[in-house]
């Protein structure tokens, strides 16, 4: 097990890979000192205690985000212009694009079939978190 600081994106050993040093015959692997593997979780998630996975149900952000995709949402990040964000809209979570226009904040769906919402003091809409990655599954199950 290699320990690793969460900030770094470098290689991480997940579990001990095959132990070549115990092979009794043949040449030792020249790669023995260079064994490493990826940890996707650590690479994609910077703030583990504030990060959540959500499954996409709707089409408000198509074609960028499709139903069935998984979004990785970091709640510790403040939303910036053009971020894809998760908002609480009525009884549901919904995806929108966060846009600043002058002093106004607009929550705009990529899909033109849906309406944009202006974020004002009396809108009952809250920005819940910022989407940092989208995991799509192009292969038909």
């Amino acid at each position: 097990m290699t320990t690793h600081s969460p900030q770094s994106d470098g290689p991480v050993t997940l579990a001990s890979p095959a132990d070549f040093s115990r092979l009794s015959t043949g040449w030792p692997s020249p790669a023995e000192q260079h064994l490493e593997s990826l940890n996707l979780h650590r690479a994609l998630i910077t703030h583990p205690s504030a990060t959540y996975l959500l499954r996409v149900a709707g089409t408000s952000m198509t074609p960028r985000v499709q139903p069935g995709d998984i979004v990785i949402v970091d709640r510790s990040l403040p939303a910036r212009h053009n971020d894809v964000v998760v908002v609480i809209s009525g009884p549901d979570f919904a995806l929108k694009r966060y846009q600043r226009q002058g002093l106004d904040i607009l929550l705009v769906p990529d899909n033109p079939l849906f309406d944009a919402i202006e974020l004002t003091a009396d809108t009952e809409v809250v920005v819940w978190g910022v989407v940092t990655y989208v995991i799509a599954q192009p292969r038909v199950r």
Binding site: P48, S49, Y52, L54, R55, G58, S76, P91, D92, F93
Partner: protein, 428 residues
């Protein structure tokens, strides 16, 4: 330097966990039920206002719950456990010293290094961060000792901003004067009765302030040194330091009421087997070995019309172990010993006693050859790793597999939003 401790407590923790991923619960009354859906164990503010008491048996309050549209949940401990871990991890960023995690939903943080003038804004920062990152509302009490921070936290719960700092002596006394002595942390009703009922009392000791001002020898006589420490803590003298590493438990138990009563030995053995898997996993997590294993079972004492029975049996293991199959075989033998035909059993449990640290050293008293012990250890480590990565129950033991008659009732279970890939919350 004057010590300041912050006690951070999640409001209606189980209910808040349910609401964290269900925006439709906002503003509605919510209640969470105990294992087996027996009693109300967590209420949000709206449910408290309806007058549904803590601990109420579900069947008593069900009419009110249905009439008022209270949103009901079975205890979803996978969800609560994960959100608790996120809560504690978030808190630990605020202090270079480790927290003292007191329970699933409260922890102490030493903030002595922060100037008094900045402590309220520090607490506000904690509150907003936890609310934002983990979706949990918290209340924070600040005080010079654990007991005072607890008093401050209870005061904070009454206030809109959820934060209260108790530094000023006159203010402390004013609050303690309004507080019954049995509301002081560590003093229960029985001890309070002892304080009120003695002949040579220095005057009636009813409020927390009376207790704080009572003479030391008298307190010590009534409640011993433990009680005297509480009085000192109320006076602002710290006697209960933060124990930063929680003491490991000396015994472990897994016990549940069955979803429906069990009459057959086969069903009882299944249940005991399953409980053994659970308790053995916890044993290994705290890197311990058990010397003694016990099994108990009992009928439902509330069903007076049924024949009643309660039994238990323990054995000393031939060698200390945390190997699930070994423990399972012993537990199954004990289940056969305690089982009596003709009773409807309502509850059973498995417990492990005389725990010893698993030092990874081979002791000469082991009966098994060291290679065998090493192999057992490797198997268990693999099972625990796979289950931690892929979810509890991914790898289990053949005899723990049967789909059970005894499984607890969980009629109102929500999804395990944060720990299962197939139960993620939906976003539209």
């Amino acid at each position: 330097m004057q010590q300041t401790l912050a006690l951070i407590d999640a409001d209606g923790f189980y209910c808040s966990c349910e609401a964290a991923f269900a925006p439709d619960l906002r503003g509605k009354p919510v209640a969470v039920l105990s294992n087996n859906d027996g009693n109300v164990i967590s209420r949000n503010q709206a449910t408290k206002r309806l007058g549904i008491p803590m601990g109420a048996p579900l069947h008593q309050v069900l009419p009110l719950i249905e009439q008022q549209g209270v949103q009901l949940f079975s205890a979803n401990l996978s969800l609560y456990g994960d959100l608790s871990a996120r809560f504690m991890q978030t808190l630990s960023q605020f202090s270079p010293q480790p927290l003292e995690i007191y329970s699933i939903d409260e922890a102490w943080l030493d903030c002595s290094a922060i100037p008094h003038a900045d402590q309220l804004s520090f607490a506000e920062d904690i509150r907003q961060t936890v609310n934002r990152w983990v979706g949990l509302p918290v209340s924070i009490g600040l005080g010079a000792t654990k007991v005072l921070s607890k008093v401050a936290m209870e005061t904070a719960k009454q206030r809109a901003d959820g934060i209260y700092a108790l530094y000023d002596e006159d203010e402390i006394d004013a609050i303690l004067a309004e507080m019954a002595v049995d509301e002081v942390w560590g003093i229960n009703i029985r001890l309070a009765a002892r304080l009120a009922g003695t002949k040579r009392s220095p005057g009636p000791v009813r409020s927390a302030l009376d207790f704080k001002r009572a003479p030391d020898p008298w307190i010590r006589q009534q409640l011993g040194i433990v009680g005297l420490r509480l009085a000192y803590e109320l006076r602002g003298i710290s006697c209960l330091p933060l124990s930063q590493a929680p003491p490991k438990r000396k015994q472990l138990m897994h016990s549940r009421a069955f979803g429906q009563d069990i009459v057959s030995l086969a069903d009882l053995t299944d249940a005991i087997t399953h409980y053994t898997v659970q308790v053995a996993e916890r044993l290994r997590r705290q890197q311990a070995l058990a010397n003694v294993l016990g099994v108990f079972l009992g009928t439902n004492g509330f069903k007076k019309e049924q024949p009643q029975d309660a039994r238990s049996a323990t054995v000393h293991l031939s060698a200390p172990t945390n190997h699930t199959p070994t423990l399972m075989a012993v537990a199954q033998r004990l289940a056969r010993r305690v089982y009596q035909p003709g009773f409807a059993y309502h509850r059973a449990g498995v417990y492990l006693l005389e725990l010893a640290p698993d030092t990874h050293q081979q002791l000469p008293l082991f009966d098994l050859p060291p290679e065998m012990i090493e192999r057992q250890r490797a198997t268990m480590a693999l099972v625990d790793t796979v289950n931690a990565e892929l979810g509890r129950g991914t790898l289990t033991f053949a005899s723990a597999l049967k789909e059970p008659a005894w499984k607890p009732k969980q009629a109102y279970l929500s999804k395990r939003y944060t720990t299962r890939m197939d139960e993620l919350p939906w976003v539209w």
